[in-house]
């Protein structure tokens, strides 16, 4: 049978195409392709390294802030800048609320419609929906009248005949298993989450000036000043505001997201048997507890799990990362058989796919704008599941407690984590534990301010004339979608080389020189497809990774030529 193609994959960020071979109602092979390229690498060349965070943040507006964070960390690492403690805490708070808000948006607005049938919600009994909602949570918006009003609103919308973004979907597909009442409850929370996300992200807007695309990052710290005696700085009023938003964030996650997640998952336990994929998990760890550059003292630990073995966590060495272009629309000067470490990377882009319009890609050869990152020659999965597994296997107490309680509530064993459903559950678990930390991080900031520590920026090396002639560094960050690394080489105060290896490049990677599949490709194998014309099952597994293709398209390599290495870190 010919390949089936899903392009565009919607409810993601960016442009992703999946081609898959289906035999006997199951996927037997799959190819992941990113179909958009901007060449930000060439654009960054010769720019001021202090500006790089603003450029790289625009890699993605959904994972806004994450490339800014990785970028300032890379430059600080290259120059040996230690940021003040307040800047560390403010960055943790910005990243924390980003994680929480982004995961909730993913669950309700990007992923839910693969599991929730909106049309079926019209048949629900509002009284029974109210009973269901009250049986799983004490969230106040749960009356019969409330669900009746939501249902009426959807009814009016459907009867109007203009279905807008909900038209032509897979409603009524046999893969939808939720009872009508659960569907109605989920639709109500879809709408509530729209209001919630807008509100809680104001925490980031206060610390970051705006969202999306915060604008308070500085190499050496942050620009948002602290002074309890000023109206124009973080003061007691700002702290109260942050605390109220953090409380709203946690309340919704505890009372709506987690109960919904458990309720929905209980109807789709068979998805614990699909989508495992690679079985190799990488996390850089994040939320540093001290200010040392690339510190290992982080609230979420760094590590690697190989072949689903939770008995051993391997350390991460950034020098073992390399990128292949064997199946990517790039060329390496020394041929495409060998991978390259990011500091030596090249971005000689050369499209060799079919001339558009086309029906199929030439998947035997080059078929995507993504490179293929590998760790010790192995393909890795990154993201919330990797972070939770590494933390779990490292003995992180809170992660272990919440993971075990979720497994127990669903009545499944730890092996269920290696799956599409496991990815969905891990994202929820992480949201909860990060939301729990937000008030504590605010308290850390308060404690510093109370001691009279208002410092937000270390300006000792702000002036490029104080920099060495050449320097190189890297910065890690755990973005909502997974392990993100930026590598920079600075020469004469300018960017000589800049490379990003990002979460969706790991996950959406094509095959490498050895033909090893990337995470999406591997996880799709074995996925059932009831109707090749309506492949909702492909969406379930691909969406479980929360793809972000603008991030993933290989970015940054300013020179294309190797520099003589300066100092080896």
């Amino acid at each position: 049978m010919p390949k089936i193609v899903v392009d565009p994959i919607t409810r993601i960020e960016g442009h992703l195409r999946i081609e898959a071979k289906v035999e006997g109602g199951k996927i037997v092979d799959a190819w992941s392709s990113s179909t958009m390229f901007r060449g930000i690498e060439l654009i960054l060349k010769d720019r001021d390294p202090r500006d790089a965070w603003a450029f790289t943040q625009r890699i993605c507006g959904v994972c806004t802030t994450v490339h800014a964070t990785a970028s300032v960390r890379a430059v600080e690492n290259a120059l040996g800048i230690v940021i003040p403690d307040n800047a560390r805490i403010i960055r943790n708070l910005i990243s924390g609320i980003q994680q929480v808000q982004d995961h909730v948006i993913h669950f309700y607005h990007l992923h839910a419609l693969d599991w929730v049938d909106i049309v079926s919600a019209l048949k629900a009994d509002p009284a029974k929906t109210s009973e269901l909602a009250q049986s799983i949570s004490d969230w106040p918006k749960s009356s019969t009248t409330y669900f009746k009003a939501i249902q009426d609103r959807i009814k009016a919308f459907v009867e109007n005949g203009q279905l807008g973004p909900f038209a032509n979907a897979y409603w009524g597909h046999p893969a939808y298993k939720l009872p009508a009442e659960a569907n109605l409850m989920a639709v109500a929370h879809y709408l509530e989450a729209l209001d919630w996300q807008r509100d809680v992200i104001k925490m980031q807007a206060l610390l970051g000036a705006k969202n999306p695309h915060a604008q308070t990052y500085l190499v050496g710290g942050m620009s948002i000043p602290i002074d309890p005696n000023s109206e124009n700085a973080i003061n007691a009023g700002s702290i109260a505001f942050l605390k109220s938003k953090a409380a709203e964030a946690l309340d919704f996650v505890q009372k709506v997201y987690i109960p919904d997640l458990l309720a929905v998952a209980s109807f789709y336990k068979d998805w614990a048997g699909y989508g495992a994929g690679l079985g190799n998990y990488l996390s850089y760890g994040d939320f540093p507890n001290d200010c040392e550059s690339n510190t290992k003292n982080q609230w979420l630990p760094q590590g690697i799990i190989k072949n689903k073995d939770l008995g051993k966590v391997y350390p991460v060495d950034h020098k073992k990362i390399s990128e292949y272009v064997t199946h990517s629309w790039y060329e390496y000067k020394e041929g495409d058989a060998k991978g390259k470490h990011p500091w030596e990377g090249e971005t000689n882009y050369k499209y060799s796919g079919p001339k558009p319009p086309y029906e199929f890609l030439d998947t035997d050869n080059k078929y995507t704008w993504l490179k293929a990152p590998r760790y010790e020659e192995m393909a890795m999965e990154v993201g919330p599941l990797s972070r939770m597994l590494v933390a779990y296997a490292s003995g992180h107490k809170r992660v272990k407690a919440v993971v075990d309680s979720v497994l127990q509530k669903l009545g499944v064993g730890a092996e269920a984590l290696f799956s599409t459903l496991g990815r969905v559950a891990a994202r929820g678990i992480e949201t909860l534990i990060v939301a729990e930390m937000l008030p504590l991080w605010i308290d850390e900031l308060v404690a510093n301010i109370a001691k009279g520590d208002y410092k937000v920026h270390n300006g000792e090396l702000w002036d490029p004339s104080t920099w060495p002639k050449e320097a190189q560094g890297y910065g890690f960050h755990e973005a909502p979608r997974g392990a993100l690394g930026h590598w920079i080489i600075i020469k004469d105060g300018k960017i000589a080389n800049y490379q990003c290896v990002v979460p969706s490049t790991w996950n959406g990677s094509p095959r490498d020189a050895k033909g090893q599949r990337g995470a999406y490709e591997a996880s799709l194998i074995g996925t059932p497809v009831a109707d090749p014309n309506k492949p909702v099952e492909i969406l379930r597994t691909v969406h479980s990774f929360d793809p972000c293709m603008s991030c993933a398209v290989h970015l940054v390599d300013a020179t294309g030529k190797e520099l003589n290495m300066i100092k080896v870190l």
Partner: protein, 356 residues
């Protein structure tokens, strides 16, 4: 009240006439209209059936889509469920693949000349458009069809307006904004990186109210949002006039909210309403959070406004009365001439205050 009207729908879901009028008054303010226009806005919104809108994304980061999700006047749920029919938007729509394409082409074929196209992201013109394809077709090709058949196009974000980041030097993919990709179409540009959602909703409501898109300047930007300089309405303007400048991040002046001009703020040369409407329901904006403006609503700002921390050069003819068009030309001339960057602020000198 007509049964198929928006107000009828709104009242069904518990929105009172009073709340609705409050919204219309807020919209009048957002559009820089006197509040006496509120009834006219209300009447227009009440009567209209939902107009169709398609939102397409090319070389984008979805930052403008995320902005849309932060909408408050009206909220995105109200927009999508009650006010307009968003028939295509890859980031939020339920359908994928073939079914998604059907949604788009149904609009193009059945509502030719009668829908609004919103474009996010630039269009790569080089090499037959291979740098962005959707469903196997190039953005270069798709944008002609989507915008060529639309009643009008709204370009959201600086990339869709002028090429933005992908078009920054050396513009590897030949990226351009919509106006340069499709000739002879009506485009309203809403630049910003990303666009402030208040300016999207105000533009949409302007269209619903007056049946036409707002009038625009030489760069295709609505006057109501891009008619004045950030500097002219900046909350820190008094410090600029008084010569009180931040000199180091975290210094006393920085903590007290003094002027960020010497730290590289581009507010004096950027035309946008940030300092008035702010972001995230008025929570903050860059200058309020202690960082200079980076000029993100200006064409080619990645090249003309960088390095971001370098003080603005002396721009000839800067005064409060200077129009956007003149400043734009002045900047281009300054860039072309490679004017020295250490020049002092003419305005500061003119107002008789010591700059250092």
């Amino acid at each position: 009240m007509e049964k198929d009207s928006l107000l009828h729908d709104l009242s069904q879901k518990g929105v009172s006439r009073r709340e609705f009028m409050k919204f219309c008054t807020a919209m009048a303010a957002a559009l820089a209209l006197p509040s006496s226009f509120a009834p006219q806005i209300a009447e227009a919104i009440e009567k209209k059936k939902k107009p169709t809108l398609v939102w397409v994304e090319y070389q984008d980061c979805a930052g403008n889509t995320e902005s849309l999700l932060r909408a408050t006047k009206p909220t995105v749920a109200d927009l999508v469920l009650d006010i307009i029919s968003v028939d295509y938007h890859e980031t939020i729509m339920a359908a994928a693949g073939k079914q998604a394409e059907k949604s788009l082409f149904d609009v193009i074929n059945n509502q030719k000349g009668n829908y609004i196209a919103v474009v996010e992201g630039s269009i790569p013109m080089k090499d037959d458009g291979v740098y962005c394809t959707i469903g196997g077709r190039s953005a270069t090709d798709l944008v002609q069809q989507v915008c060529g058949n639309a009643l009008a196009t709204i370009a959201v974000g600086t990339c869709a307006c002028y090429g933005g980041l992908p078009a920054a030097h050396p513009n590897p993919t030949g990226a351009v904004g919509v106006k340069d990709a499709v000739s002879g179409i009506k485009v309203v540009n809403l630049p910003g990186c990303p666009v402030n959602v208040e300016n999207i909703t105000a533009t949409v409501v302007h269209y619903l109210t007056f049946g036409a898109l707002p009038s625009t300047d030489r760069l295709g930007r609505p006057y109501f949002a891009y008619g004045e300089r950030i500097h002219d309405h900046c909350e820190r303007r008094a410090h600029f006039d008084a010569g009180q400048f931040v000199r180091q991040w975290g210094d006393e002046g920085h903590r007290q909210g003094w002027c960020l001009y010497q730290m590289g703020c581009k507010g004096p040369e950027t035309f946008k309403n940030c300092s008035v409407v702010k972001y995230n329901e008025g929570t903050s904006w860059p200058v309020q959070a202690g960082h200079g403006c980076i000029g993100c609503a200006s064409p080619n700002f990645w090249d003309t406004m960088t390095p971001f921390y370098r003080r603005l050069p002396h721009a000839p003819g800067v005064s409060i009365e200077t129009t956007a068009d003149k400043i734009g030309l002045g900047l281009a001339a300054a860039a072309a001439a490679g004017v020295a960057v250490h020049a002092v602020a003419s305005s500061a000198r003119k107002s008789g205050h010591k700059e250092e």
